[in-house]
């Protein structure tokens, strides 16, 4: 629109009219035209909702009718809400249970598969496959494998004399079941990132160490591990973020139960908003989660910048 209007006004040396104006100014305008579709979608579906979420979090609102301003009321309520505190605790427990373990397993498998071994391409694929499978399918399969009465894990435990474990029906074992399932899903991701990093370590370093008589463990301790440092740090942050995000798996596998034993923050938000109709309270919890994630994201940025400048 503005293109045509001002095109009629401006007209000097080059061919006149819209065409001439466009030829002269396209390098200035093109960037904005090219990013417009992206920015429109982002603004409408991400930026506006973020600002809106902050606003709703200061209100009591059930999606119908108009919001009632309550100030920081929702945030104060949170501190006294046992279920929220439980969800907060569960999120921490799940994060601690999944992050170091899946990174360690990913590193172990990557170290193994970085060796020249027969069939390693196939082995790498097998370890990676769970990453691409929908978490709903994973959750249903895990629910079947961990089933208290007919699940294969309990059948094996019975057979070897340990006896069956109430995996999904007891508050004590539901979280471990989720953590084990998550390890299965996430190992392959960490492995792939570590493998890429391992392949960029120059072989000469190992040769030199070997000449100096360094043993396998010492070569790992003094060459591999320090050089993997940046990768480990990155994986640490990414895995924490993924753990704070987990929804599909828990929603389908345990539904947050039994009781509130596996309810995590993202699920509690969903439940507050779409089961209880407490939009304001749900948004307030969302804001808290957002701030938590922001800390990790800023860490990651800062770190990426550092390593890019180095």
């Amino acid at each position: 629109m503005t293109v045509q209007q001002s095109g009629e006004l401006k007209d000097d040396r080059r061919p006149g009219g819209v065409r001439g104006w466009w030829d002269r100014n396209q390098r200035l305008l093109i960037p904005y035209i090219f990013i417009t579709p992206n920015l429109v979608v982002f603004t409408v579906f991400v930026f506006v909702p973020i600002v809106f979420a902050f606003y709703i979090s200061l209100n009591e609102w059930s999606l119908i009718g108009s919001p009632v301003f309550v100030g920081l009321g929702n945030y104060v309520d949170m501190l006294q809400d046992q279920e929220f505190l439980r969800a907060f605790y569960n999120t921490g427990l799940y994060t601690v249970g999944t992050v170091p373990t899946s990174i360690a397993l990913g590193l172990l498998v990557a170290l193994g598969l970085n060796r020249k071994l027969p069939g390693r391409t196939l082995l790498r694929s097998i370890f990676f496959v769970p990453v691409i499978i929908s978490l709903v399918a994973v959750a249903l399969t895990a629910a079947w494998i961990f089933n208290d009465n007919y699940g294969v894990i309990n059948a094996v435990l019975e057979a070897v004399g340990i006896g069956s474990v109430p995996w999904l029906s007891s508050p004590k074992w539901a979280m471990p079941s989720l953590i084990i399932t998550t390890l299965w899903v996430r190992l392959g991701f960490n492995m792939v990132v570590y493998l890429a990093a391992l392949q960029s370590i120059p072989e000469e370093l190992y040769d030199a160490a070997r000449v100096d008589g360094a043993t396998g463990w010492r070569r790992f301790r003094h060459i591999t591990w320090p050089l993997l440092g940046p990768t480990t740090f990155l994986l640490l942050i990414l895995n924490v973020i993924y753990s704070l995000h987990v929804f599909d798996l828990i929603y389908v596998m345990t539904g947050g139960g039994p009781g509130f034993s596996t309810t995590v923050l993202v699920q509690y938000i969903y439940q507050m908003a779409f089961t209880e109709g407490e939009m304001g309270y749900a948004s307030a919890i969302g804001v808290v989660l957002y701030l938590m994630l922001l800390v990790f994201t800023v860490f990651q940025w800062w770190f990426t910048r550092q390593s890019e400048n180095a």
Partner: protein, 288 residues
């Protein structure tokens, strides 16, 4: 465990001769690990094709006594699966086209143009990378419902089309396209659109492939957001259909495993044919 093999070092012929001691042990452990990784997938299949009464027998047989293929059609007919698949396929394919188009243009612009506000805009966009959908679910649902997109494909795919991950991926790739190529075309008098179409696009197929595959995977596996937007059963996608199968008191495990298996087949095929793109995608975004 006496030695760490150098990465990708050595010659192929050495492979057999070397495999002893530490390597053999490592290889053994890896194969055992791979068996554990494969088992759930095998169990999905074994349960799906087992005669229904074998499920609750208490014991466990690794191999089903007979293959009851009719389990699949039984389960398929209990829910409108054909509709679920149509919805899922349509959403995934349209999302691929829209997402790739939007992000390719934007990623190229952020990589190759200098314009006022570029860096701050890019930071702003990338800062949304780690926001879980639940945080903005309420206002986002409000907006989608105002647009009349509840229960529609568009409500699922448009809000996620400007995927910050995709933008990031494209930008990282485009930075590596030499500026000289673009400048040369400009000196020849090519317009900016022509440069994008004739110079940049032909060089971008690798990142288009990666983004296509990732977008397809994200939308095919999507659950949390469709769960909010799609409320009528006729509009459900495959993962929503699957979640319906887990009953509170009774679950048809054979049917459920059969439908789960079926739902992952498209992704398995994509993975088998385009494996290296997955690794590339993760290495280029996870790493950087």
């Amino acid at each position: 465990m006496d030695r760490l093999a150098p990465p990708d070092g050595g010659k192929k012929e050495e492979l057999r001769g070397r495999l002893r001691g530490g390597d053999l042990l490592v290889w053994f452990l890896l194969v055992a690990g791979a068996a554990i990784m494969v088992f759930p997938l095998y169990w999905m299949f074994a349960t799906a094709v087992r005669p229904k009464k074998e499920i609750f027998s208490g014991g466990f047989d690794l191999v089903p006594s007979t293959l009851a293929w009719s389990n699949f059609s039984d389960a398929w007919n209990k829910l409108p699966w054909d509709q679920f698949y149509i919805n899922s396929i349509a959403i995934a394919l349209i999302a691929v086209v829209v997402t790739v188009f939007i992000n390719l243009l934007a990623g190229y612009t952020f990589a190759k143009y200098k314009f006022p506000g570029r860096d701050i805009l890019f930071l702003l966009l990338i800062s949304t990378l780690m926001i879980p959908i639940q945080v903005i679910m309420v206002p986002e649902f409000f907006i989608v419902s105002k647009l009349g997109w509840v229960n529609s494909w568009w409500g699922v795919l448009v809000p996620r089309a400007a995927e910050a991950f995709g933008l990031f991926m494209v930008r990282q790739f485009m930075v590596s396209i030499p500026d000289e190529l673009i400048e040369a075309a400009r000196l020849d008098g090519a317009g900016e659109f022509t440069i994008f179409r004739k110079v940049v696009l032909p060089l971008s197929w690798p990142v288009v492939a990666v983004l296509t595959i990732f977008t397809f995977m994200w939308r095919w596996n999507d659950f949390a957001w469709p769960l909010v937007v799609l409320q009528e059963r006729a509009s459900y996608t495959v993962p929503l259909g699957l979640s319906l199968m887990k009953g509170q008191y009774y679950t048809d495990w054979t049917g459920m495993m059969g439908m789960s298996l079926l739902s992952i087949v498209p992704m398995l095929l994509v993975f088998i044919f385009f494996q290296r793109y997955f690794v590339q995608g993760i290495a280029s975004t996870g790493m950087k």
